[in-house]
Amino acid sequence: MEIYLPVAEMSVNWLIIIALGTGVGFLSGMFGVGGGFLMTPLLVFTGIPSTVAVATTLSHVTASSMSGALTQWRRRAIDFTMAGIMLIGGVAGTLCGVWLFALMRRQGQMDLIVALTYVLMLGSIGFIMLRESLATLRAYRSGVTVSRRLVHRGWIQNLPFKMRFRQSRLYISVIPPVAIGFAVGALSAIMGIGGGFIIVPAMIYILRMPTNVVMGTSLVQIIAVTAITTVLQATSNFAVDIVLAGLLVSGGVVGAQLGVRAGAKLRGEQLRLLLALIVLAVGAGLAWQLIARPADVYSLSEGVP
């Protein structure tokens, strides 16, 4: 059951890796997130070097997202105009993120900054989603019809360069989508994630896109960002392991399909509640790692950066 990974230079049990890929793929299909924020820590836990884990997870995210996006596309649940506009910011953000990555590594506090960013983001996003989805569920149970606010209030409505996004039934400025795309692209390069857990809430709560379009549109955005980052990681760090990627992807695409089916059976706010709980759990786990006494206060990395 063991297989040798040529770039990671180690053997792994391929059944475990495929199971990991399937499980994370299921979540990714269900929620429209890439699952990188789960996969990277899990791979590191199985003993794969963190550079390889970060770089190779991106392929898994690409594949799961591709599989999910095609299913959403057949349902016509993708806003390509929105995805295209966001991608303009996304490409710029990715390049900027790679530059930031190198800068932070020279400062020597890369790990801490990444971990703190994760905890802060997962914590705040998870909390906001949890509160909102619980409120909606409670209102639904008590029989009150909640009317979704389709009109934006305040500054977002006053920004210039307005565009019509027909699929999302929105008429808003292109500045917020480009800015969100940029932020997610930068985070993707720094943290080795697709950024779905940031895009999805941002689309729902900042852009106010309908939930059914959010899934497909975020997947398209994630495919593009992770594909670019994979190539950048392969050329600059030689850290992408194609055998590991193949195993993860094989499990991931199957999981993603099952996840999309499962997700279609649940209501939007139920999905958001579940995702909020997962996001909070991962955030809490990472926060614990920061404050708990490590088993060995010394850590070793190969090479002299």
Binding site: E2, Y4, G68, G108, V254, R293
Partner: protein, 246 residues
């Protein structure tokens, strides 16, 4: 340096020593294939003109290629564990295995062990980059390698098949680095090295594994694009396969 010492020893210890050593290894190339999970090599040898087992010790050392490494120490600052200090080492082996007839500290005095680099406590990096005392960092590096099975000392693991014939098994685990390894066999008599032999051992990937590794380093752009293409293709295939009829 250590290899040089061994060579010098080989040149000058010949006629004067009563006892001599011949040794060999079961294979001089370890091939890493797709189902490689580690293997054992057998190091064997014989003591010529043996003068009895009393006071005689055999030490077998396998060293991997040198590997630069950075060790960081975390300290608690404002409740959070932060990397606060680091030491960089050059010249420590990526793999180190020592088999001996007795615990190495009992075979020879410490300075002799350091001279030949015998035993984990005798490992000395050739260059250290640190502002502080590097010793705890060096110990941490040794501890880390022991934990993952790349450094080990195994006293009492040399079997004598007869008065003069010995052999030992050396594990080559799955996590080893590719490159040239050195198998060194030492014959000690009353705490002094009287004979030593060094044989190279090559660890390398073969077939598909080697081609993939080479491609990742020689043609990274095509390799990266191939990864993306594979991911997209598998994603597409799965969505077609799982498409519900009608």
């Amino acid at each position: 340096m250590k290899r040089l010492l061994v060579t010098i020893l080989l040149l000058f210890s010949g006629p004067a020593a009563a006892e001599d050593l011949v040794s060999g290894i079961s294979q001089d190339v370890v091939q890493i294939t797709s189902n490689y999970t580690g293997t054992d090599i057998v190091v064997f040898g014989a003591v010529e003109r043996a003068a009895g087992p009393q006071g005689r010790n055999i030490v077998v050392v396998v060293r991997g290629p040198d590997e630069p490494m950075t060790v960081r120490r975390r300290d608690r600052i404002a409740g959070v564990w932060v990397n606060s200090d680091a030491a960089k080492f050059q010249g420590l082996p990526a793999y180190y295995y020592l088999a001996s007839t007795e615990p190495i500290a009992r075979i020879a005095p410490h300075d002799a062990l350091v001279r030949y680099g015998l035993g984990l406590q005798a490992l000395r990096p050739s260059a250290i980059g640190s502002h502080h005392d590097p010793e705890p960092f060096l110990q941490a590096a040794i501890r880390y390698h022991q934990r993952v099975g790349l450094y080990a000392e195994s006293p009492g693991s040399i079997d004598f098949l007869s008065e003069t014939l010995f052999r030992t098994r050396v594990p080559v685990p799955a996590g080893v680095t590719r490159g040239q390894y050195n198998v060194e066999v030492y014959l000690f008599r009353d705490g002094e090295v009287i004979s030593a032999q060094s044989t190279p051992l090559f660890v390398d990937a073969t077939g598909l594994e080697r081609r993939l590794f080479n491609m990742a380093h020689d043609a990274p752009l095509s390799y990266g694009l191939a990864c993306v293409f594979m991911a997209m293709l598998l994603g597409w295939i799965s969505s077609v396969l799982f498409r519900r009829p009608g």
